[in-house]
Symmetry: C2
């Protein structure tokens, strides 16, 4: 695969990335966040925000920082970051979340289902889904630990580039929650894979 692929608003995609290959994730219109999850190809190892907090020593990561697995291995290194703000606190949005927080009664697209479907499409059973790397999502920790959403700081065309440190199954979801996207109608994302 080469060239830029679009992820339609509110949908997800699964892909495989070999060690050394790079993944660029782009916000084509600006102000849009998304979720990324990484698993080893056999599903036995998975992204861990808790291990990443531990080894990186911080809750916000950017260029040069590593996303770690639950088995304490580097999965991805951020090698270029034009946005500089990402979240690793929030679990992926789920249907239950839309019901509890927004009063949604029918179905609503959600990152949990998008990521699960995407991972299964590349051969990984993800349940129970770990907390994703929520790129471009802008969450501030205010006084007393209170969490405050701000609009994603990504401008149209901004991107983040991650290098695979092992062979990976990756899922991406263009987040369908307007709360995470500055109140606007959720938009698309795009990505491209680049050789190592």
């Amino acid at each position: 695969m080469s060239g830029q692929q679009t992820i339609a608003a509110g949908t997800g995609v699964g892909l495989r990335l070999k060690r050394g290959e790079q993944l660029r994730v782009i916000d084509p219109e600006g102000g849009q966040s998304g979720d990324l999850l990484a698993f080893s190809l056999d599903g036995s190892e998975r992204f861990s925000n808790g291990r990443t907090f531990d080894y990186d020593g911080k809750i916000y990561v950017s260029t040069g920082d590593v996303l770690w697995s639950n088995l304490s291995n580097p999965m991805l290194t951020i090698i270029c970051d034009e946005v500089g703000r990402h979240d690793m606190l929030y679990a992926a949005c789920t249907l239950e979340m839309y019901r509890i927080q927004y009063g949604v009664t029918g179905y609503h697209a959600n990152c949990h289902d998008n990521l699960c479907t995407a991972l299964r499409s590349v051969g990984v059973e993800p349940h129970p889904l770990p907390t994703p790397f929520n790129f471009f999502m802008n969450v501030e920790v205010a006084a007393g630990g209170r969490l405050v959403f701000a609009p994603p700081p990504s401008r149209a065309g901004d991107s983040i580039v991650l290098r695979a440190e092992m062979d990976l199954a990756i899922a991406l979801s263009a987040c369908p929650a307007s709360t995470c996207n500055g109140g606007k109608t959720p938009g698309p994302l795009a990505y491209e894979m680049m050789g190592g």
Copy 2:
């Protein structure tokens, strides 16, 4: 079971708590943190820090706050908290962590193994282990999201009381990492179960 039970330094324990029952966790000597995990009895539902951040709207919880499951159900409510500082960011310490961060070459007691063994003792297969509720563990989010350890603020005899909101399998571990315990030799914890 009634009366106070000791959890020896660096070890864990599994127990079952019926809906409405209360669990008091005590720091008998002061300055000691521990890890708690809760699962539904059949293992299908588990504590989720990410959902708890979302519904409670903060990273620090205390009296009146709820610990939520990955399926968006209340698992435990904090009904009394004499300490007022707990962490939900850090994954349980693992053998790999002691190797990477402390250069340990042999075995080292760790909360991950303690919690897994404890949960299996009450019939739950926990793998992959979610991030625990790290009670009395004192982690500050400093400028730029940097994470800073401070000693647990618990004084000798201080406790936290949690009420079960569903039938639960619970694991407790007296954390064997001196970093999480103000640099001192890790000590014991204690607990008691109280009728609803």
